[in-house]
C-alpha cells in the first residue's frame, strides 16, 4: 500500500479524502487502482491513450516521475505519491 495525496481541487472526486492508501507496484498500477475506485478521476488524470495528462504532475517521494520512468516508475509500499495540477489563483 502506498499513500496517494489528493490535491484540494480533485478531492470532490474522491469523497473529500486528503489521501488514499492504494495498491500497485508502479505509478501505472497506483493510478489504475485510483481510477478503478473513483472513475471520475480518469479523464482528469489520463489521456484517451492512457498516458498521464501533461498538466498533472506526479511525484514519488518528492521526485517528478517524468524524470524517473513515467508511468512505469516503481512504487514501494511505504512510498508517498502526490498528484499535483497547476493552480491559477492569485
Amino acid at each position: 500500500m502506498s499513500t496517494v495525496f489528493i490535491p484540494g481541487v480533485l478531492r470532490s472526486n474522491v469523497g473529500g479524502a486528503k489521501s488514499l492508501e492504494l495498491d500497485g507496484d508502479s505509478i501505472r498500477g497506483v493510478v489504475e487502482a485510483l481510477v478503478a475506485k473513483h472513475p471520475a478521476l480518469g479523464s482528469q488524470l489520463l489521456t484517451a491513450d492512457g498516458d498521464l495528462n501533461r498538466f498533472v504532475n506526479v511525484y514519488v517521494n518528492g521526485q517528478d516521475v517524468r524524470y524517473l520512468a513515467g508511468l512505469d516508475t516503481p512504487v514501494a509500499p511505504a512510498d508517498e505519491v502526490r498528484l499535483l495540477p497547476a493552480m491559477a489563483g492569485g
Partner: protein, 408 residues
Amino acid sequence: MPKSYADLLREARAQIKEVTPQEVDALPEGSATLVDVREASEWEQGHLPGASHVSKSYIEQQIEGIAPDRDAPVILYCAGGVRSLFAAQTLAEMGYTNVASMSGGFQAWKGAGLRFETPVTLSQEQKLRYSRHLLIPEVGAAGQAKLLGSKALLIGAGGLGSPAALYLAAAGVGTIGIVDFDVVDISNLQRQILHTTDRVGERKTDSAKRTINALNPDTNVVAHEEMLVAENVNRIIKGYDVILDGTDTFETRYILNDAAVAAGIPVIHASVFRFEGQLTTFIPYEGPCYRCLYPTPPPPELAPGCSVAGVLGVVPGILGLLQANEALKVLLGIGETLAGRLLLFDALETEFTELKLRRDPNCPVCSTEALAARAAGRPIPVANVGEDAPFLLTTTGAAGNVSPEARA
C-alpha cells in the same frame, strides 16, 4: 635615525609593486581583490566597480575578512596612490604575498575616463528607518543601498501582490512596478490588503500607490495600467531586477514566463486555491522555468481562479510574503532561493511540503537549444496557451464562463 615622509615613500615605492589604472581596468573581473582604502566620505563620492571599502585606519582589522587568501592578488587604491602604498606595506608585513597599489589612485582612474560607481548613501532618516536591516550583517548599509536601487515588478495588485508590495516597500525596495488593469471591488478586501473600503471602484494601481507611499514615501511606484499580453510584456518587464507573479490566469503566467526567461529576469511564482498554495523561484537557466514545471495548463475545471473557487484570505497573504522573502534574497544575493524546489502549503493542516523540480532538457523556452535558437534569431515556436488548450476559450467548465478579467 629618524625618517622623513619622503624617505618612507621612497621605501614603500621600492617595496610595493604599482599598477596603472589601465592595467587594473584590463584585468578580468574577479581576478584580484580591489580594496579602496580611502575614508568613507571619499568612497561615497564614487569608487571602482567591484571594489570593497576598508579605510586605511581599519586595514589591519578588516582585510582578512575581505581577502582571506594571503597569496591571492590584492590591489589597493586611494585618492592619489600614496595612502594605498603605505597600506600595501602593512599587508606585506601581514604576510600578503601578492599586493599591488594603483598608481595615481582614484583621481587617475577618473581622469582616464574609466567607469566608476557612486554608492547610494543613506540619509539620516533612512539610517533610522532601516536600522533593523542595518544591524544584520547579511544586509547592512551595502545591502540596504542595493535594495534602494532595486526594481521589483508585481504582476497583479491582488491577494498575492498586496502583502508582497507592502513588505517590499517597507524593506526599502526603491522601485515597485505594478501591473493591474482592474478596479477595487468590495469582494477583494477580504485578502487584498493594499486596498480599503473607501477605494471601491478606484483603479487598483492608484490605490496601491497611495497605500505604499503612505508606508514608505521613498518608494517609486510605477503603475502599469494594462493587461499583460504578448504584445506588451517585453516593454513592461524591461529593466526590472525581479518579478513577482501573482496573476490569476494561465495565459498571463505563460506569457510572463517566456518573456522573463528570454530577458534573464528571475520570477517568483505563487498560486493559491482555497486552503492551498504553491511557490517556487524561477531563475532563468539556473533552474527550471514554468514550462518545465507545467508544460501545458489544465482545463479550467481543474484550475479555477479565486473568484470561482474561493480562497481563505490568509493563504495568499502567507504565500505573498514568502514571495517577498524570495525576492529580497534574489535582490540581496543572499541565502538559498527556492530555485529547483516547489513549496506546497496546506493551511488546513498547517503543513509545508517540498518537491524537487528539474529543468526539462527539451523545454521550448529555457533549454540550451531554445537559448541558442533565440540567440540565432529563430526562437522555437511555442504553442499559445489558447491553441494548446482550447478549453480556456470555451464557456464550459467551472471557470470557463468567467472572463480572465473577472477571475482576478
